[in-house]
Amino acid sequence: MTEHHDRPLNPARRRTLMLLGAAGGAMMAPSVLGRSAAFAQGAPSGQIILGFSQEPTVFNPLMPHIEVDDGIYYAIFDPLFDFDPDGQLFPILVTEVPTVANGGISEDGLTWRIRLKEGVTWHDGTPFTAADVKFTFELPVNPDFRSFRTTGYALMRDITVVSPTELTWTMTKPFAPLAGVLASTFIVPAHPFEGQDPNAAPFNNAPIGTGPFKWGERMAGDHILLTANANYHGEGPHLERLIIRYIPDLNVMYTQFKAGDIDVIGLQYITPDHLTEAEGLPGVATEVAGTGSFESFALNMQRPQFKDLAVRQALYAALDKTSIIDALYYGVPTPTETYMPQQSAFFNPDLPPHAFSIEKANQLLDDAGWARGAGGIREKDGVRLAFTNSTTAGNHLREQAQQFIQQTFAEIGVEMTISNLPPAVMWGDYWMNSEFDTVVVGMNQLSGADPDTTNYHRSSASPALGGAGQNTLAYQNPRVDELLDAGAASFDPDQRREIYRELQAVIRDDLPFLPMFQYAVVKGWKEEVTGPAPNVNNRIDSWNVRDWRRG
């Protein structure tokens, strides 16, 4: 693959590492980067209870699933290779990560070859071979299979098992993001699916992997118990048991963490308003870590109000980001001007900075001819600057931000009504078919560390406009389309960096969404636990659970 280049640690990452050091004390993070042999392989001992505020329910990683399910996959399965916190790929099931340089990928990007580790076995003792990898690549495009996604797999042709440890295939077109896709593809065994409906195979509820932990038992609605895989092919695991508890309410989850009932507070983490208190808890380590998600005030570009760039600029100027971040979010997240995480090599640091100014906002609207009408609400050509704003009901901090934004918008003659919805309604047709006016949403638009966002920003990706994808803002810009096409076809890191930096600049000028901040979350674990480490390139922090240990 591609991103083999030196670059300085960016400030955010330095902060991450410092915090990590503070938490881990003198011991320092064990093997944050790949498979360090610094720790002798002792017998697994002890257990860790990891709390999630959502319930993992899908155990076949190729079926539709959500973020939290990944938390289980990392324990049970292995991908071929994965991203480390720096965005570098490191091998897991392969002997080396395929790149153009090492010949794993042909110059034109059309032919791929991987070599697998020897002596790896599935949890049930069956040997792991290239046939399993082939099966894993082919299952998602099986028309009878309820597959999570086909992106990337659909471009693969002639997947050939050269030997039990070697696999080759060709691509119908060059597709640089494939490495990112593969890094989040967990390899499943072929043999449990023989003669089974892949949608209903027993495997789906009792998964078998090559990962550091074996499936133990599941008490639906409460917890999942995983046990150490003594025959793990890499280093680890160091724990006898890993228990994943489901605690549906963030507040309750924090309370239980505080009470010592859970050892590591996982997905959805500690809410920022508890940060100060959590930092003061005895025997507990906390850490603020950036994530790949960013919060934005997303606009439905099909609405007449938002077709005028001046309106979008004025709304952005009237968005008091600093107050929201510092006061409501306790300074935990970092302000941003783009969708790209600041830790990414593709991040554009030169975007024009946002400045909160009611005067400027009013000026922009006055100049564009939006005059104040009835009730002080601006209007132009019969279009009132009034709209609804939605988000998932029950997210307290976001609801506070909404109400704050509502007040500042009112100051520039904009009427915003809050209309929040339960998640199942919010993210259904309402979101996918662009039935909303505006939405406050946190999204991660990257798959892994790859910068491609075709699915979110290309005109052809808007379902409301008849396309396929997640461009639910119905954003259309021909220059964006060009840049996305060029970026996906290029394997040259420098070229790609330029393309994606320009893309960010175009979008920043266009403001189809008002970028607010890059998410940072407050992670917490008991001091006697070591191992948990943030990784902005992964959706969830059990990515290195094989390294976790107790004491």
């Binding site: 319930e55 699933h65 209903a200 639906a220 309370t255 009470a259 199942a424 996918m432």
Partner: protein, 316 residues
């Protein structure tokens, strides 16, 4: 008796059919759907969502979906969860156990304590005890359960550290003592309301009985007050309570939902909340049917018990 049972079963079947039909329509016609949870996943497309929906049969006409669901149900197949592919019946059975454990404990506390308070209040109507209990039960009925639960956790788990803040058992422990340890707080919080309700009803029911002639007869026989109370008043005032208990079942289930959320108790209420949040129709429908079934069975059982106790009803 058999005829009576058959007729009751017939009526119950119709009732369940109405419940299922209404429930199915409300669920399916609502916006959103089981697939919306995947919408924010990186790389997900509407096309892909449509494909999955087709594979799951979600794009078929509503009556077809309903008849399909119903015909499976009639064959004893409650379907599988959209979320984790588990058979709905198995999921419900597991959660039912947790709910029944919690409800059973708190209801037992409520029946014993509530009946005792109710009778004591009624026998000394207007006394200090009666007034105190009236005020206390009214206040207990007025405190939102979740609020009370949160305060209890704050005090007993966080400040005093006596009791676990949630869950049904410590994973890997699961001994009886461990279950009890986890059960105490949620059961007591839930029982607070139940005791209040039961003591009020019991008081009313007992007041209806103490003024009846046969109580006078019993005293005229020279029985002690205690014997009159235990033998004549208690039995007769419990009869309407049994019917009430049957009717109370959905209320208790609803109350358990909130308590289960606060104490992360893996019961039916929590399951319902989660399944509703994910639009997991088979499970939501299964829960609706299960709770309607519980209600039906509850009221039937109550009627049968009343019939067993009360000869007037038994022989009609």
């Amino acid at each position: 008796m058999l005829r009576y049972l058959l007729s009751r079963l017939g009526q119950s079947a119709i009732l369940l059919l109405i419940v299922s039909c209404v429930g199915f329509c409300v669920l399916s016609l609502a916006p959103g759907g089981p697939l919306s949870q995947f919408a924010l996943s990186p790389g997900m497309t509407q096309e892909q969502l449509t494909r999955i929906a087709d594979q799951m049969g979600l794009n078929r006409p509503l009556p077809v979906q309903y008849m399909d669901w119903l015909s499976h149900l009639l064959r004893g197949d409650w379907g599988v969860s959209y979320r984790d592919g588990q058979p709905v019946l198995a999921i419900i059975q597991r959660h039912l156990f947790a709910t029944l454990l919690l409800m059973g404990t708190s209801t037992a506390i409520a029946i014993v304590l509530g009946s005792a308070i109710g009778i004591a209040s009624a026998v000394r109507r207007g006394g200090i005890f009666d007034h105190t209990m009236t005020v206390m039960s009214m206040v207990a009925l007025s405190i939102p359960t979740f609020w009370f639960g949160l305060v209890a956790i704050y005090v007993f788990s966080l400040n005093l550290g006596w009791l676990p803040s949630g869950g049904m058992y410590a994973v890997g422990n699961g001994s009886l003592a461990d279950y009890l340890h986890h059960l105490i707080m949620p059961a007591l919080v839930l029982a607070l309301v139940d005791v209040a309700i039961w003591s009020r009803y019991m008081r009313t029911s007992t007041l209806n009985v103490v003024h009846q002639d046969f109580v006078r007869t019993a005293r005229a026989k020279g029985l002690t007050r205690r014997r009159v109370l235990m033998k004549h008043i208690l039995g007769n005032s419990l009869v309407p309570m049994i019917t009430l208990a049957g009717l109370q079942l959905p209320v208790i289930l609803g109350g358990a939902l909130v308590t289960e959320t606060v104490f992360t108790w893996p019961g039916m209420g929590r399951l319902f909340l989660d399944s509703l949040g994910y639009s997991d129709y088979p499970v939501v429908m299964g829960l609706l049917m299960a709770s309607a079934l519980l209600v039906v069975v509850g009221s039937l059982a109550a009627d049968l018990i009343v019939a067993l106790i009360d000869p007037r009803i038994r022989l009609n």
